[in-house]
């Protein structure tokens, strides 16, 4: 074999394994609130629990709400930014952050919103009109 080919193959292998190693480290898995207690940084998927108190506090400059994860655990979530647009309409929330003392401190929050990409119809508003 030509030395150039060997160098090429070796560098491809090195590059790929480095890339995959790094990729594997930079992704993590979605967990629920209970599992998040044992971790330093977690992604939790869930929905907003509208029965609990929620809102932005101008004293602490934080937005807090209660979220129910997929396993049904409800925890308070604190988000250090204003309430995001469409918060109430989000069909799903992903919070990224840390669990401390039963409170989840989110550094980031993603919302899956209906709207344009919506396929969950809600016909309540126009109910009895016939044509």
């Amino acid at each position: 074999m030509k030395p150039k080919l060997i160098i090429g193959i070796v560098s491809i292998i090195v590059f790929t394994s480095l890339l995959m190693y790094n990729f594997g480290n930079s992704i993590s898995t979605y967990v629920n609130f209970e599992e998040a207690e044992a971790r330093t940084s977690s992604h939790v998927v869930g929905t907003w629990d509208s029965t609990g108190e929620y809102g932005f506090s101008r004293d602490t400059m934080q937005f807090s709400f209660h979220m129910k994860d997929r396993a049904g655990n409800v925890r308070k979530v604190i988000y250090p930014r204003p309430k995001p647009n469409n918060f109430e309409q989000a069909t799903q929330l992903v919070v990224i952050g840390e669990m401390r003392n039963n409170v989840f401190y989110a550094n980031e929050m993603l919302m899956k919103c209906p709207s344009k990409y919506n396929d969950s119809p809600d016909f309540e508003k126009a109910s009895t009109i016939e044509s």
Partner: protein
């Protein structure tokens, strides 16, 4: 009726695409001109049918026929005409139609301009992609399986189990759900068409690559394919730019790029297409790299279909803020990507042995080697991004239920690749126009290197850059700009037609510089109090109620009306109030913030907006959306939005109260409200010149003022006004009012007349209810005087982003460079075509 026609148009279009695909295949195999001509007719008719179907859909949208799911889901009665039109491609089905439509035109162009022997096989590939795309929207239901989702399906077909439809199958909703407010932007109107123009044109290099493998003519295909690829890349770049600009201007995440899967999905085809352009240029110039240009041409289209698969199949649903609805097209999309991949890569491997190989390896210091390195680096960057974006699939190798990679993953890989690319562009450009040995190249590069070093040091010092890594990156960026700039100056003297590539590379260098400045050196704009608080958080001195240290910094501040705050030790910022404009969106508030540079610069105003999202607000609550204001500057942008305000809070409280009242269903509700209003009034007695404080306000009775006759009722006996000064004590805001008091007679009885004067800002009504001439005093009745009254306030999130302008400038230079190259290669291709 119209919808029925539309459905038939689509069916016919689909059948014709099948026919033309078969006929083109036949024409290619048998090399039959006559069949080819017939298939061209089929292609044309298919276009007419697609046009017919599009007109039908637009007609349904324009006439508000909400019994059709697509019309109901994406439009509403109040939508402006231009947005009604753009709703045509607002959803998945319509956007497929638009794509098909543009690809049809590209096909027409190919029929007219393509030379033998490529025409028939190229058109076969075009017809095949049309076949797959059309299959996504024909909506054939065989009972056991469905093919495609028709834009003409009714809501009854969409939701057969909805109770109101079972009760009344002919139900037609009165209004549609409307278009998302965020998308009501001119940028978003033109963004999708440009993307699909790009997608359609990127089919061309793929088609030519297949045709070249088919006809075993491996060299000539790039001449016609190169201008198409350049044009496709220009479209994709423009679309990416529009998307980024829209995100920056309208969304509150505060940037033009977030490594969101959907954004990545548009970037990867561009990167691979650009890699392909590099390979094609080597092939055209030096008759080598045939393998690479075929490979990249195939891969660019595969990556487009792959990104379509990722964004439209529902795979990314959890990860992206804006992936499309899952229409159940997963299997069809999978079939499409497999067909394209197997056809492209399979055919490529099948012919691999026959592909021309260069006689000898190219030297390290040659334009071939450098250009090829550029292509490879672009390809590798594309691969890294594909890997990250595919995390829902590939991440399963590592964990169950994988999350997207951290942003750091993308940054860590793209930065070193970009640095090497940057250096390669300069060396590559020098070698592209002249042969060089190490010595001569070093000699040429001395001056640019010296200038680069000086400029880099200056920017590092001015920008206060501390990281060595960033220093290298900045150096690489400047080197690209200055090195390529030197080449540009020489080319301009010799032959200005050739500058396309050089301009693109300068644009790339500017982009690198702009990206680092605007992302790493963005600083939040805060008042001194918040800054102090953040310093304390940094030092771990702030604790929450449970005794845990708070680690999250506060990146916003509050402003009370007319009470300026010093921000970033640079601007006195004053909130001057808001205006309910109701325009262009109902319920919109325009906030006014005055920025006065303390070093005596020019005063300017920022006017962010807040508005209720109509599509998602209901009777029980408003869903507020913000529209940031970006003040664009050469050196820095100021990005600002209102994250909360007194008005918004009050409206929310109102809605909450209403919701509670409704749920309690009170019998005597109205009386209650009336009594409440009466309780609200306060009586204030003032003698002339006296000031009295009530709650947070101070009332002063200055003097009596004569009342003019027009304002008085008939038969007035006494008519007098009082000059009142009302001040909100903590803010110093004050109003003067002249309420009227009159006594008139009607039917021999005396009545008093004291019309209220409204002070809108405080929601207050002042009445001059009595006059006591004997004590020279008056009595005022004040409604709506709130003991807990608080001045108007806003919460502001503001950022200072240096050199975003350079990002745009770099992008524009890339676009300009591509455009110049398109013209050059197109003209050359036409010349050869005419000679033949």
């Amino acid at each position: 009726m119209i919808a029925e026609a539309g459905r038939w148009f689509l069916n016919f279009a689909f059948l014709f695409s099948v026919c033309s695909m078969g006929l083109y295949a036949f024409a290619s195999v048998r090399n039959n001109k006559k069949v080819e001509r017939i298939s061209n007719w089929f292609w044309g008719f298919k276009g007419v049918f697609v046009l017919g179907a599009s007109i039908a859909l637009i007609y349904l949208i324009m006439t508000h026929q909400f019994q059709y799911y697509y019309v109901w889901n994406y439009t509403s009665l109040d939508l402006e005409t231009k947005y009604l039109f753009s709703a045509f491609y607002g959803g998945q089905e319509g956007s497929f139609m638009l794509w098909i439509f543009f690809a049809f035109f590209v096909g027409l162009g190919l029929i007219v301009w393509t030379r033998k022997p490529y025409r028939a096989p190229v058109m076969f590939v075009m017809a095949m992609t049309q076949f797959f795309l059309l299959s996504m929207i024909i909506g054939w239901d065989f009972g056991f399986t469905k093919i495609g989702a028709s834009p003409f399906r009714t809501i009854a077909q969409e939701m057969p189990n909805a109770p109101f439809l079972q009760a009344n199958p002919d139900f037609v909703p009165q209004d549609g759900t409307g278009l998302n407010d965020l998308l009501k932007s001119p940028w978003m109107m033109i963004h999708p068409p440009i993307i699909f123009v790009g997608f359609s044109m990127m089919t061309v290099p793929f088609a030519f690559a297949i045709a070249s493998l088919w006809t075993k003519t491996y060299h000539e295909w790039i001449r016609p394919a190169l201008p198409w690829t350049l044009a496709a890349n220009l479209s994709l770049l423009t679309a990416i730019f529009l998307g980024g600009y829209w995100a920056y201007e309208t969304l509150s995440f505060g940037g033009y790029w977030a490594w969101d899967p959907v954004e990545n999905a548009s970037l990867v085809p561009w990167l691979i297409g650009t890699a392909g352009i590099h390979a094609m240029i080597i092939q055209r110039k030096s008759r080598r790299a045939h393998k690479a240009s075929l490979f990249f041409a195939i891969l660019a289209y595969v990556s487009i279909i792959y990104q379509t698969f990722l964004t439209r199949s529902g795979v990314l649903a959890d990860q992206s803020v804006h992936s499309f609805v899952d229409l159940g097209l997963y299997n069809q999309l999978l079939a499409f990507i497999l067909a394209v991949t197997i056809m492209g890569i399979g055919f490529y491997l099948y012919r691999y042995k026959e592909l021309p190989t260069p006689d000898k390896e190219s030297k390290f210091l040659s334009r071939e080697f450098m250009t090829f390195t550029g292509a490879m680096l672009l390809f590798i960057l594309g691969l890294v991004i594909i890997l990250g974006t595919s995390s829902p699939i590939l991440g399963k190798l590592f964990v169950d239920n994988p999350t997207p990679p951290e942003i750091q993953f993308y940054n860590n890989w793209s930065m070193p690749i970009a640095i090497i690319m940057a250096l390669a562009t300069v060396v590559g450009q020098y070698l592209f126009w002249e042969r060089h040995s190490w010595e001569s190249l070093a000699g040429e590069l001395i001056t640019p290197l010296l200038i680069t070093s000086t400029v880099s040091v200056v920017s590092i010092v001015l920008g206060n850059v501390t990281s060595i890594y960033y220093m290298i990156y900045i150096f690489a960026g400047w080197f690209t700009v200055i090195g390529n700039g030197t080449v540009l100056v020489r080319l301009l003297r010799k032959n200005p037609k050739l500058v396309g590539g050089t301009i693109t590379h300068i644009g790339f260098g500017l982009l690198l510089l702009g990206i680092i400045a605007s992302s790493v050196y963005t600083v939040p704009m805060l008042d001194p109090q918040t800054t102090n608080y953040n310093t304390r958080i940094e030092q771990g001195e702030v604790f929450d109620d449970e005794g845990f240290p708070i680690t999250q910094k506060v990146e916003m501040f509050e402003l009370k009306v007319n009470q300026p705050k010093l921000v970033n030790e640079k601007y006195m910022v004053t909130y001057e109030g808001y205006e309910l404009t109701n325009s262009p969106r109902p319920g919109q508030q325009n906030y006014r913030l005055r920025f006065e540079p303390i070093d005596g610069g020019e005063v300017f105003y920022m006017s962010p907006e807040v508005y209720p999202m109509l599509t998602s607000s209901g009777p029980n609550g408003v869903d507020w959306s913000v529209d940031p204001h970006v003040r664009t500057g050469m050196v820095k942008d100021i990005y600002l939005y209102v994250a909360g305000s007194k008005y918004v809070e009050q409206r929310n409280e109102e809605f909450e109260r209403n919701a509670q009242n409704e749920s309690m269903m009170p019998v005597g509700n109205q009386d209650e409200e009336q009594t409440e209003e009466q309780e609200d009034s306060q009586i204030i007695e003032l003698s002339r010149g006296e000031t009295k404080s009530v709650g947070p306000f101070a009332f002063t009775f200055r003097n009596f003022v004569p009342a003019s006759e027009e304002a008085l009722p008939e038969n007035t006996q006494i008519g007098i006004r009082s000059l009142i000064h009302i001040e909100h004590e903590s803010s110093g805001r004050a109003f003067e009012a002249e309420p009227l008091f009159a006594v008139y007679t009607e039917d021999d009885r005396s009545y008093t007349y004291s019309p209220p004067i409204e002070i809108k800002e405080w929601d207050m009504n002042v009445l001059f209810s009595k006059v006591r001439p004997e004590s020279d005093s008056i009595e005022l009745t004040v409604y709506g005087l709130d003991e807990n009254f608080e001045e108007d306030w806003v919460l502001v999130v503001a950022e200072q982003k240096p050199f975003v302008s350079v990002v745009w400038l770099g992008t524009f230079m890339l676009m300009a460079g591509f455009s110049i190259s398109i013209f050059r290669h197109w003209a050359r291709e036409k010349n050869t075509a005419e000679k033949n």
